[in-house]
Amino acid sequence: MSSGQLDYASLGLKVGIELHRQLDVGGKLFCGCSARREEGPGSFRRFLVPSESELGDVDPAALFEAARGLEFEYVYGDESSCLVEADEEPPHDVNRRALEAALTVALMLGSRVVDEVHVMRKIVIDGSNTAGFQRTMLVAVGGTLNVGGREVGVQTITLEEDAARNLGSEGRVKRYGLDRLGIPLIEVSLAPIEVRSSPQEVVEVAAALGRLLKSTGLVARGIGTVRQDLNISIRGSGIVEVKGVQELPLIAKIVEFEARRLSWLLQVAAELSRRGVKPESATGEILDVTDVLSRAGEGIVRRALGKGARALAFAARGYRGLLGSEPHEGVRVGRDLASIANAFGLGGVIHSDELPGYGIDEGLLRELRARVGAGEGDAVVIALGDAEVVRRALEAMAARLRDIVSGPPAETRAPTPDGRTRYMRPRPGSARMYPETDLLPIPIDDSTLERLRRNLPPPWDEQVSSLASRYGLSRKLADELLDSERYGLFLEAVEMGVRPSVAASLVVETLVSLRREGLDVDSLSDEHLRQLFRAIASGRLAKEAAPDVLREMASGRARSVDEAAGALGLSALSDRELLAIVDEVIGRNSRLIAERGERALGPLMGEVMSRVRGRADGAKVNELVRRRLEEALRRQS
């Protein structure tokens, strides 16, 4: 396979989008807590005891983790969490504004709203929900999203709780922040679209859906408020779910990567079939090969065994050459085996396509092949570590290699920041859901729907026009502004007194061009931008200096606007310095003052400001010049 252009249409590439977006409707879905981000200070620890049937859906790694007795530590702050988040109090009634926001979206998409909403519990055992389940409810089915003439079907619209924020893990303890738990999320699932010529089509659909949601004025904006799950397949493959893609531009890259990966797996399957491999017999018995490998030369194998690790291995029939082949960067069967190893807490996996190496020479490899019964065309997969853990990990890897024989398997994958994907787990079967028995069903009456229908937000284009005319912006700028994750900051800036055109181009154009320079624009917090707007509004900083200041901060060289301004020599003048300049200007213009009296203020201000712009507050300058002018006039009279 070449790494050139892909013919998407002939691949039969289909992509379904599930868009999740936080709602900004004041508070959480089932309690009155604030939805703002908050750290600590309290914490508590929990286990989850899922019933065995919940794990039945063959996620060996999750089963393994649960068996290990993972412990969860939940960190909470006082404003963002209460006993509901702690799973210490039954849920309150559903947040009506959140429900009505979901209904509004349903009406905009022409979906059929259910007569009675039932809150369900969806089992989640990774600790991201204190209860061990996520509360979710189906609000509407069907409908259509119009994307530049293309009609994309809507499957379902659901309203659910966001999960707790993952704060990382240490050994067997996973840490989560409760501030995000319970924030209302709307999920819109679109029917798969057939990609005709470019993955950009998928981006456009996602962007159109994003604009529709934003046009309600009820969704949260900013980093972490939105994520897309992509259901990707090509003809002959299972459906791959890529979970949690946060940025739109990444979608195109991921779709392209998956198209390449899936078509490679199709080729692998065809080759295996040509080699006569059958799914059920594609892997051999898992055997302890510690004695063979204990004779390995210097390298990681010997070091691991020296520390008491065991080595286990199995033969993969017909896989010789297919584990290590990398037809496209990152597309390699062996890479997914390594992800499985990682899921079990192992450092990695060794397969015969990379051997000789790691201190295993030709002779040892022959012995190894003989031990696990690997023939000429077979590969050998080896893992090192605690015998029980290694056995379970190898069982999971063998299962995956058997699956591949019948074609690219359905599975769940995670996006990587560079637009590839990484194996996470086998695709779960049907969602494990049962009713939330703490809440009664919620009837949706016609009068509510009627009221919402009468008050639907104006269409996007209309909102753009009114934004453009209200603030004197170009249509293009207004459109990008309304679509921006930082739209709220623009409104704040205008409120502070920043000229709308200045604020808009900073929020949209400046940030985009800085991103193009390769700077980490996402590291700029809203607070950074607020500081900047305050400085501009007060005249302490010239708007022309803003890109430089932002560049200082985005590159990590400065932590605040003041620090950046200081580093750039834009630091505010001290009172004494400012006074010296004012006095100097007034002294030089005694004639002007004598002629014009108080009306000399304008020209004097102009001259002073031209010298201190960006370094002194305009109002302060005005006050100083006025005082010194009055004094000068008194002296003259």
Binding site: V49, D87, E88, R112, E116, L440
Partner: protein, 442 residues
């Protein structure tokens, strides 16, 4: 009898009956405004309205569809006959356990069928072992479902039956006995067993759950493990309550049955020892049972005396500002023999009650004083009101919890105590229900 249209009433039920549909059937509902919707017919919550039909869609979600919009119900597939639950592999032989688990109601453990949403309680030892990781390693269990009542429906008759059953089990040589119980009135039952089982040779541990057992986060499993560990390994005897010590799943507190109270509606650490700390604690990581107080040791079964009778003619009256004496008169007229007052502060009620209280005592009704402050002891010599009540014959009950005092009065009356016995035994410490010292650090 099992209702095939469980929870459905009124128009929804009629519609389903006409169509011959049963819960569990796969149905297609034709809608009057066009289109149709398919799914599995689900049972209806009892408190939900009667004008919607609940359907589980293929994606697992339940939705309700208005009866008025359904023009026709087509049954596409009948519910498959329910397979009998698969027996878990037997790991223990019946009748040879070390700890007896007695069920009184509620669900200590359950399984969920995600296809139908049905929650099935499990109680057999082998099911408990498979449902509660690590339980099998603590002790072999026998289980027996004694009755199945909600905790708020428990009565002194249940206490009696439970006391007799626990007594027989203790005499039979179990290492300990665990009683699973709804949490709302668990502390009343704990007090009742404390009095009814004199000279108890082994630990009897009551246990419940604040979060239902159908959720992975339920405290039922950790509480049960803590209770079984205390019953099997605790080197003490007596009646206790085992529940979470904090919000974390780290420790199970073992509270004395006569000192414990449910102090929160929903938190998993709702149960607290009053005027003392917990008696012992179970570390959930090591399953070690650690005593925190001097406790009666295990003893010979021969010392056990079961005294299971309770007389219901005792009443707990909470005083509030302005309360009228007529309620006291009415209780006396209704034949009550003991009145436990939950007074204010150090043990006071308003002057307007004094006449009625005097009359009650004259008629041989025992009147005892506890405090609605919950923490601390009554002390009726400090203020004039208290001294007046003492003069009338009201008996101060120290730091005994008002609920415990009520149960104790029922029990003493049940043992045939007359007015003089009541006056002397109610304020005496029989089972650790009254203490002389209240520590600075509780």
């Amino acid at each position: 009898m099992e209702d095939e249209l469980s929870g459905y009433r009124g128009p929804a039920r009629e519609l389903l009956l006409r169509a011959g549909a049963r819960v569990g059937d796969e149905v297609e509902l034709a809608l009057s405004d066009g289109g149709s919707i398919s799914g599995t017919l689900m049972p209806r919550y009892e408190h939900a309205d009667d004008s919607h039909v609940t359907l589980k869609l293929g994606n697992g979600y339940n939705i309700g569809i208005s009866v008025s919009r359904i023009s026709e119900i087509r049954i596409s597939r009948r519910r498959a006959p329910q397979p009998s639950p698969e027996p878990a592999p037997a790991r223990a032989q019946p009748g040879r356990g070390e700890v007896l688990v007695l069920g009184t109601g509620g669900t200590i453990a359950s399984r969920i069928d995600y296809r139908t949403g049905a929650v099935t309680p499990v109680f057999r030892p082998e099911d408990l072992y498979s449902r509660v990781p690590g339980l099998y390693e603590i002790a072999r269990l026998d289980t027996e479902l004694l009755f199945n009542v909600l905790s708020e429906n428990m009565t002194p008759d249940h206490w009696s039956a439970l006391a007799e059953r626990v007594g027989r089990a203790a005499a039979k040589g179990y290492r300990g006995i665990v009683v699973t119980h709804g949490t709302d009135t668990m502390h009343y039952t704990a007090a009742a067993l404390s009095f009814a089982l004199e000279g108890l040779p082994v630990p009897v541990i009551l246990v419940g759950a604040q979060r239902s057992s159908d959720r992975p986060s339920s405290d039922a499993y950790t509480n049960l493990k803590g209770a079984v560990a205390a019953a099997a390994r605790g080197d003490f005897s007596g009646v206790y309550v085992a529940m979470h010590r904090s919000l974390s799943d780290l420790e199970i507190a073992i509270h004395r049955g006569v000192r414990v109270r449910k102090n929160h509606t929903s938190r998993r650490d709702a149960f607290q020892s009053i005027n003392s700390g917990p008696a012992a604690v179970v570390d959930l990581r090591t399953m070690e049972v650690k005593k925190l107080e001097e406790l009666p040791p295990r003893s010979d079964p021969g010392s056990l005396r079961v005294k299971p009778r309770f007389d219901r003619r005792a009443f707990l009256l909470k005083y509030f500002p302005g309360m009228d004496g007529s309620i006291v008169d009415a209780l006396v007229d209704a034949g009550y023999r003991a009145l436990i007052l939950e007074g204010t502060g150090l043990g006071h009620v308003g002057r307007q009650l004094q006449g009625s209280i005097a009359r009650a005592i004259e008629e041989g009704v025992f009147v005892g004083m506890t405090s609605q402050c919950i923490w601390g002891s009554v002390r009726m010599t400090v203020y004039e009101t208290g001294r007046d009540l003492l003069r009338l014959g009201v008996v101060p009950l120290g730091d005994m919890l008002s609920e415990v005092a009520l149960v104790k009065a029922m029990w003493l009356l049940g043992q045939g105590a007359g007015p003089e016995d009541m006056r002397s035994l109610m304020p005496s410490n029989l089972r650790g229900e009254i203490s002389e010292r209240r520590r600075i650090v509780a």
